[in-house]
């Protein structure tokens, strides 16, 4: 294959990885709402 | 007088009657709200700050000082931060002490005789200088509107 095909593939992989990283971080950053002192039932 | 008018004024030495610098910015202090320092550019030496106390006169075209020696380097941490533009007030967001944003500062009105800040002007409203609580790198903090 020509060299430019590899370049395009690399760019796509990079974009996918970055998007995943951002999405994972966004989900991790979602805050929780935590109730203290819940009894056991 | 407004910061927007006074910026870029010449700083003139009374001793030599020559221009010794140019007003690049203003540093506001709290308790009460006032201009504490002028940031000066195009000076001959290393100095970049002038204390308000060293300002002899503040006219619409020029600021007079005794001589070029009053243009000095920062003397403490706060002055170093001032010099770095961290504390530049134009463009800074205004937060009420309750946590609501009241706009960004577009201009400041001050008394050229005393240096006291009379009004902060944002896109949305005008805020009396007496409402200033604090200002830092992130925001200017003011009391809630007393008339509301």
């Amino acid at each position: 294959m020509d060299w430019w095909v590899w370049v395009i593939l690399a760019v796509i992989v990079l974009v996918v990885l970055l998007t995943l990283a951002v999405l994972v971080q966004r989900r991790r950053r979602r805050g929780r709402v935590i109730g203290l002192g819940g009894g056991d039932r | 007088m407004l910061f927007s008018d006074a910026r870029k004024s010449d700083v003139v030495s009374i001793g030599t009657a020559t221009k010794v610098g140019r007003v690049d910015g203003f540093v506001v202090a709290t308790g009460p709200a006032r201009v504490a320092l002028l940031r000066v550019g195009k000076a001959q030496g290393d100095g970049t700050l002038v204390s308000w106390a060293d300002v002899q006169g503040f006219g619409s075209d020029a600021v007079t000082v005794a001589d070029t020696a009053v243009i000095r380097v920062p003397s403490d941490e706060w002055e170093q931060r001032s010099d770095s533009r961290d504390l530049d007030i134009l463009g800074k967001r205004v937060l009420s002490e309750r946590g609501d944003e009241l706009g960004e500062i577009t201009d400041v009105d001050f008394d050229p005789e005393t240096g006291a800040v009379t009004t902060f002007i944002t896109g949305k409203e005008t805020i009396g200088g007496d409402r200033l609580i604090g200002h830092g790198r992130y925001a200017v903090v003011v009391t809630v509107d007393p008339s509301a």
Binding site: V33, I34, G39 | L95, E101
Partner: protein
């Protein structure tokens, strides 16, 4: 000068507070809000855990207790100074925090009827910040399956594992929007009080 009460008497969703800047009265950005922590008994907000600003930042080891909060506004949570922060373990011990998240929990009435799953928690401002209701994705049992509705909560919120128990009568005070919800909470709590008073009289 009398300091203003930290919040105005409005309703807000707890999840809106995540990511809100924490700013000192001196105008410095200290942190961002991470989690909202509340007491099950009585429902007041006990405080907030913190993280630093920036996309890839971690949770901080310190936390913001409610007593250190100067104001909760649309754009920031104001604190007097950073000396009043406490260790996060003191506000919400890790073990409790891990299990205590009510988001996505199932809501059941005390008679066993499933109402839905928790999407958000409704807080009411005043002198403090109080948990007054849940925003849930309604299940079929509520007759409005899949819809987002608000159900009011009594003063004490029963939290247990993945299930949250509410009085059966809460289902009668379901709201579809936040603006009318304040009234629904008041009516629901009056009803509970009447029921208690009657029970005591008998």
């Amino acid at each position: 000068m009398i300091p203003p009460s930290p919040t105005s008497a409005i309703l807000l969703r707890a999840r809106e507070l995540a990511g809100r800047p924490v700013v000192t009265l001196g105008g410095e950005l200290e942190a961002e809000i991470k989690d909202v922590v509340f007491e099950s008994d009585g429902g007041p907000v006990a405080g907030f855990t913190l993280r630093n600003e920036g996309l890839f930042s971690r949770a901080r080891k310190d936390a913001l207790p409610w007593r250190a909060v100067h104001g909760v506004g649309r754009d920031a949570v104001m604190i007097r100074d950073v000396e009043q922060l406490v260790p996060a373990e003191e506000l919400a011990p890790k073990k409790v925090a891990r299990k205590g998240n009510v988001l996505d929990d199932r809501v059941l009435t005390d008679s066993g009827r499933e109402l839905g799953t928790v999407l958000d928690v409704v807080l009411q401002g005043g002198a403090g910040l109080d948990v007054v209701g849940y925003e849930i994705e309604a299940s079929e049992g509520l007759g409005t399956a899949g819809r987002r509705v608000f159900i009011p909560l009594p003063d004490t919120v029963a939290v247990s594992g993945e299930n949250l128990i509410v009085p059966a009568s809460a289902a009668e005070f379901v709201s579809e929007d936040l603006s009318g919800f304040g009234a629904a909470v008041d009516e629901f709590r009056s009803r509970l009080r009447e029921g208690r008073d009657e029970g005591e009289q008998n």
